[in-house]
């Protein structure tokens, strides 16, 4: 967290915009269980009072479908972000406090990992182990930890020279203890500020996987809905517009909030 964040009006404005963008998809995800299962109605009905987002080719209410999809997106995005943060924090601290060899290993590992795009890793794992939201999240988390680890390591290096850390060392506090007690709390906000990038990246990757048909078909995500919009692009603009719109609102909203934090 930048110290002046709260004071800068343009940042505050960005955060407010971000929240406004993010609110509808979050609301959908939260309310999804209340909506119940989508029931058949008229096919390809344009948005109306009865079906605010219209219906798809099977007559499903698009709003309900998108609410279910929102849960998938937030689940995968949330888990992937958590995994990347945990791995990144742990490995970043190990790199900063674990000595030369550990540092080298972690940093080489990070370099290696960034050559493998997270989505590619997800495709490989899904191909070998079968589709599943948790597996997807795991792949995306593993694919993005270096981003966190690098920031954490750099910040931790900076903190090593701080008086309170030097003092703790002089008192004979062990290195893991220093890392956890004195450094972690200070760099946690910085790591958390990466949440936006991680989360929106994971949501986008999930949508792509579900678009190409590599996700659990029992829980259709936004990408699945958009893949089926293809045949109706000309007549049913809502099938293309709403899922994509929600997706962009989610990714952009999260990114702006995180940017302002």
């Amino acid at each position: 967290m930048r110290p002046d964040a709260a004071l800068d009006p343009s940042r505050r404005r960005a955060a407010r915009w971000g929240l406004a963008l993010l609110a509808p998809p979050v609301l959908l995800a939260v309310l999804a269980p209340l909506f119940g299962k989508p029931r058949a109605g008229p096919m390809l009905a344009a948005p109306s009072l009865a079906h605010p987002f219209g219906t798809d080719d099977l007559g499903h209410d698009l709003l309900l479908l998108l609410a279910q999809g929102a849960r998938v997106s937030f689940e995968v995005g949330g888990y992937a972000t958590a995994i990347a943060l945990l791995l990144g924090l742990a490995l970043g601290l190990v790199a900063a406090f674990g000595g030369r060899l550990a540092d080298d290993l972690v940093m080489r590992g990070a370099e290696l990992t960034v050559t493998v795009p997270p989505l590619l890793l997800a495709i490989v794992l899904v191909g070998l182990f079968g589709a599943g939201n948790l597996l997807t999240a795991l792949a995306l988390g593993i694919g993005t930890w270096p981003m966190v680890a690098r920031v954490v390591r750099a910040a931790a290096y900076g903190l090593r020279g701080q008086p309170h850390v030097i003092a703790a060392r002089a008192l004979g506090v062990s290195r893991p203890m220093i890392a956890l007690r004195h450094v972690l709390p200070a760099i946690l906000p910085l790591a958390l500020s990466l949440t936006g990038v991680l989360f929106s990246g994971a949501v986008l990757a999930e949508a792509t996987l579900s678009f190409v048909g590599l996700t659990d078909h029992t829980m259709p995500g936004w990408g699945h809905i958009m893949a089926h919009a293809g045949p109706y692009l000309r007549d049913a603009w809502w099938l293309w517009f709403f899922p994509g719109g929600l997706l962009v609102m989610t990714t952009a909203g999260v990114a702006w909030i995180a940017d302002a934090a």
Partner: protein
């Protein structure tokens, strides 16, 4: 500097070895065991037996690893069960289609992204403009397939300017340049939009740092107007980080091509890896992934070496910056 180069060169085979070992580990963890992972879930009994014979699955792990690694290093990535052909051949067959959209898209994004990044850079002290954030939103937050669908809707279906699908007109006996270009426009544009936002943002950030430097102040003081100084002086220096990032984005570009190839029914590697994953053609999935990783590492290495050659400021240990993306 010599030591850095040497280390960098050694890193490549080392990295490949690590990635390869991880792949080998995955093969053994996969449900159905290594035979299934090496032959594909629905492979024939004959293929399974051949795999067992070749890698001696009763032998110790280390021995099997060496056999497998030896095969991979000699370019033998196994046999695709679905295509009934060596994985390497299948990949090479599909490579041109992917390259034909990825390379123009990279070029276009560099050009357009560069232009936008240049124009978005303001003189020190000038007011913050919204172009860059909006661009980031546009390019980076929109899924490529959504953009691709939108382009088809507007330019192919509504306006009829460009073909709906494919890389060429199958009626043409010989490939024709005009026909090819017409088919490439929409897929390349879809792919480039995603890339160009990234390019614009990085260039703008780099330029913003450059224009605050003393030499710019001098140039401006000598009476050069800002846009010209920006283009003549700052741009050259700011290009380096952009190139570095480009080299590191080979993998990401490939991933972007997946959705584009599916929307436009192009016979490329992206569609191939998805179909391989869906059809449980494990050797093909692993083969493509390994090939993409190798290409990404090579790209990284080449850009690093280039930067080292051309930019003396980069001759220090660049661990922190080489992959910032």
């Amino acid at each position: 500097m010599g030591r850095y180069l040497l280390r960098r060169l050694l890193q490549m085979p080392f990295g490949l070895a690590v990635v390869g070992s991880l792949a080998f580990l995955l093969i053994h963890l996969a449900p159905g065991g290594p035979v299934t992972a090496l032959s594909g879930e629905y492979a024939t009994a004959e293929l399974r037996q051949e795999i067992e014979r070749r890698y001696g699955l009763d032998r110790p792990l280390a021995e099997r690893y060496l056999a497998w690694a030896g095969a991979v290093l000699s370019g033998d990535l196994g046999r695709s069960y679905l295509h009934k052909a060596p994985v390497a051949d299948v990949i090479l067959e599909r490579l041109p289609a992917t390259l034909s959209i990825v390379l123009p898209a990279a070029f276009l994004s560099l050009l357009l992204g560069g232009a936008i990044g240049l124009l978005a850079t303001r003189a020190p002290g000038a007011p913050r403009n919204m172009l860059a954030p909006v661009l980031a939103l546009m390019g980076h937050m929109m899924p490529t397939f959504w953009i691709a669908q939108g382009l088809v809707l507007l330019f192919a279906l509504k306006l009829g300017w460009f073909p709906v699908q494919g890389l060429d007109d199958p009626r043409a006996i010989r490939p024709e340049l005009g026909d090819r270009l017409r088919h490439l426009v929409l897929p390349v544009t879809a792919l480039a939009i995603h890339q160009l936002a990234m390019m614009a943002l990085i260039l703008r950030a780099a330029l913003q740092a450059e224009v605050a430097r003393p030499y710019m102040v001098t140039a401006l003081a000598k009476g050069l107007d800002f846009p010209r100084a920006r283009r003549r002086h700052a741009l050259v220096n700011a290009l380096h980080p952009v190139l570095a990032v480009m080299g590191g984005r080979i993998g990401a570009t490939f991933v972007g091509a997946i959705a584009v190839e599916i929307v436009f029914a192009l016979p490329g590697l992206g569609r191939l890896i998805v179909s391989a994953a869906i059809n449980r053609d494990h050797p093909l999935v692993l083969g493509i992934a390994l090939a993409v990783c190798a290409a990404a590492m090579l790209g990284n290495l080449l850009t690093d070496l280039m930067m080292n050659r051309f930019d003396p400021r980069m001759a220090i240990d660049r661990d922190e910056t080489s992959h910032a993306a």
